[in-house]
Amino acid sequence: MERDDLIVNDSYALNAHHSEEEGVAIRKKIYLVTVILSVITAIEVGMGVMFKRSEAFTWTAIKWTFIVLTLFKAGYIVMSFMHLGDERKNLRNAVIIPYFVFILYLIFIAITEGLAHYGMDQMFH
C-alpha cells in the first residue's frame, strides 16, 4: 500500500536528504551515546567485580549506585535510540511522567511485600 503520508512529510522517506554536515553530526552523536553507555556499563561491571556482597552499608550504597546508573542508561536509550528526545516537550512528559510514577509505585510495593514475606518467615520459625 502506498503511504503518501510517510512519503511526503516524513524524515524517513527517501526524499528526506540530509546534508553532509548534518550526516557527520548525526553519526557523531551515535558514537557519543555508544561511548557513554559503554563507559557506564564498564563502571558497573568494574564495581561488581571489585566489591564483595555484604550486609554492610557499603554494599547498599553500591546497589543504589547501580540503580541510579541504570536509570541514567535507560534514559539515554529512550531519549536517543528510541528518539523520544526528538519529540515535543509535552509529548515527552506525557510518556515519561506516568512511567516515573508507576516505577515509584512498583518500588514501594516490591519493598513492602518483600519485607512482609521476610517478616512472615521470621514469625513462623
Binding site: 524517513y12 527517501l14 550486609e55 540503580i67 541504570t70 535507560a74 536509550i77 529512550v78 514475606h117
Partner: protein
Amino acid sequence: MEMHIQDPLTVPISEDGGHVVLTELGDHPHEAHLHSLRINKYIEDETELEGDAMMTLWNARSENFSFGAPIPGLGADWGGINHSEYATQQGYSNFFFFITGFHGFHVFSGVIINLVVFLMVLNRVMERRKHYEMVEKVGLYWHFVDLVWVFVFTFFYLI
C-alpha cells in the same frame, strides 16, 4: 512452627531427621536460625549429601510444588510454604528463569527480525516503498529489548 536446633551448626530440614550443615553463620550465629530466608546462602556443597540426607533435601524442595497438599511419605505436615527454607529459593529461580527466558525469546526474535529487515534493505524493498519506516519500527523493537536488558542486567546480575 517451632524449630528445634540441637547443634548450632546444623539445621533440620524435616521431621524425619535430615540435617544440612551450615558453613558460615555471620556475626550473629543465632540469627542464622531465625533468618531462614538467608539459609540457602550458607548451605554446604550439596553434592556432599548422600542417601537419606539427600532424599530429605530433595523432598523438602519438592514439597514446594504441592501447593498446600500433603505429600505421601513426608508425614502430617501440610505442603507448600511451611517449614521448608527452599520456598524462597524456589521462588527466586522461578522468577529468574521466567524473566531471562522471556528476554531470551525476545532477543532471539529480535535477531530474526533484524535479519529480515536487513535482507529487505539489500533487496531494495524500501526503495520500492519509497520510505524506510519498517527499518525504524524494527529499530524501535530492538531498542525496547535493549532497554529491558539494561534492567535485567542490573537487578539479576549486578545486585
